[in-house]
Amino acid sequence: MSKQEQQEVQQEGCRTSRPSPDARLVTGAEAVAEAMRQIDPDVMAVYPITPQTPIIEAFSQYVADGRVHTELLLMESEHSALSAVVGSALAGARTVTATASQGLAYMIEVLYIAAALRAPFVMAVGMRALSGPINIHADHSDVMLARDSGAVILIAETAEEAYDLTVIATRLAEDPAVMLPVLVGQDGFITTHAAEPVRLLDDALVRGFVGEYHVPYPLLDPGRPTTQGAFSMPDSYFPQKAQEEAATRQAGGRFLTLAGDYARVSGRELSAVETYRTEDAEVVLVAMGSVVGTMKDAVDRLRARGLRVGVLKLRMFRPFPEDALRKEISPGQLLLVFDRALSPGSWPPLFLEVAARIRGNSCRSLVFGLGGRDLSVEAVMTVVEGREDLPANAASHLGIAGGAL
């Protein structure tokens, strides 16, 4: 960065000069474990997998120390873990789990069933590449497996957001209009294992916010017997799926309300779509996860060079916040959509979502960071400065031989 750029970037800053005195240095995984300790669920059923492991490592310590009342079920596989979660949630217990990558892949069969059974629970995901080749590092291929499961998918940029979204997700999952699994994704290693200052809330405040869980139709109430998970013929399957789909859609509006409640107790706004310097932007970068912070730095430096550029971040991928997205995009803006996942033989998933909702905007697709590959501030700047050369008929693969840049 040149001296002049540095000065302009600093002048832009209306940022706080010190971390809040109540900020604690924790990783994203520890922050989520801390949120779960404060939520104090009745049941956690899990199977360990990198990079989710530190979540259950920390939470197991809370169980061992008697700091939570949770029944911790260490299962023999993710398939069994999620099956236990579904049973527990339907019985009326507040339930959480955590996984990543192959573990989520192994849960997928049960996740579709969980959503159809309207089993509410929170699943922390340390988002990681899928095998093969085997790789333990960050990308979004694993959560994309859950895209059509019916579950709600929230994605955090920072450790603090992972904490906040975990607390909100508890209420969202259990909301009578929703009653669905809620995934809270954070980037593997980049967020799960890096320590940053996080403003943790008071235990009482979080407990007050999440309240008590009341299951409307408990599985284990002999006085009020219900049938759950029944066989469904063509006459009833489609109508049930339609109800389920409506619930997933309603989660968008309920998130808005609950995030508003959360803002009142925490002072922190968590909208489904967040923008950074997009008002007068000619170019808008669209992305999810930890890369958004890197993009904000790139935006400041590009603006110091006279480029009108901004970032649009999605915290919610399912339901897709299309109204919020449309509201924030102006006609004529060039959208550069960054995906951390592929859909071989088609366009990558986030690009498809965005492209389906815009009118009067040019859109370019960029795939980056698969298997933990780095995308630097400088590389983001290079993409924006070379935007005229990005192909319109194919996605560009950033940072690899044969990619556009």
């Binding site: 600093q10 800053g13 940022r15 706080t16 000069s17 010190r18 971390p19 900020a23 240095l25 990198t50 990079p51 333990i136 590092h137 980037d187 290693f189 980049i190 967020t191 294992h193 890096a194 320590a195 940053e196 200052p197 930890s290 890369v291 912070g293 890197t294 904000k296 730095d297 780095d374 995308l375 630097s376 501030v377």
Partner: protein, 186 residues
């Protein structure tokens, strides 16, 4: 933005060192990141960890490729890896060694030897990583000894005996004072 890269071998505690440094810095009002790097770890394998510290919130989460300061905990890595990669002019390498290796053809004036193994031994502590944390704090020059003591208490307080805690604190301070005294002397 200050960026530090730690080189060590699996088991030598560079992840812990980077966390301890970040704790001391956050206690002084810095915005920080402590970032371990993961691969196929095993005891003795080369490892890397990082720190970022800045006076404004740190938003970027990309890799650290141009550190301000490089810390090398294991002397044998000096020949095995180009530990100075990405270090700009004005940068510094802190090397755990009795003295700067004579065979180096790299900028000798950018290397400072810290006899961390010896200082750790004299302090009664088993590990040189905490000595190097003290040394890094002294090189960065902001904040005093108290933030280091508080950070040691917070990170190890629940895990170590009182005697081990006292030895750890002595080891951290030995690193801090070694650099401070060396800077005074030059």
């Amino acid at each position: 933005m200050i960026e530090v890269r730690w080189h060590g071998r699996g088991g030598q505690g560079i992840k812990t060192a980077s966390r301890l440094l970040a704790l001391a810095q956050v206690g002084e009002g810095w915005w920080v990141q402590a970032v371990p790097e993961y691969g196929p770890e095993r005891s003795g394998a080369p490892m890397v960890a990082y720190n970022r510290a800045d006076e404004t919130p740190i938003r970027r989460h990309d890799a650290i490729t141009h550190p301000t300061l490089v810390v090398v905990l294991d002397r044998s890595l000096w020949r095995e890896q180009e530990v100075w990669t990405g270090l700009g002019s004005g940068g510094l390498v802190l090397l755990n060694a009795p003295e700067v290796p004579v065979e180096t053809d790299w900028h000798r004036d950018m290397v400072m030897a810290v006899p961390a193994d010896r200082l750790a031994r004299e302090a009664g502590a088993g590990y040189a990583n905490v000595v190097m944390v003290g040394a890094v704090r002294a090189v960065l020059g902001r904040g005093g000894e108290s933030s280091l003591t508080v950070a040691v208490q917070e990170l190890f307080g629940r895990r170590l005996s009182a005697a081990a805690m006292a030895a750890t604190e002595r080891a951290v301070m030995a690193g801090y004072r070694f650099v401070r005294d060396a800077e005074k002397a030059s």
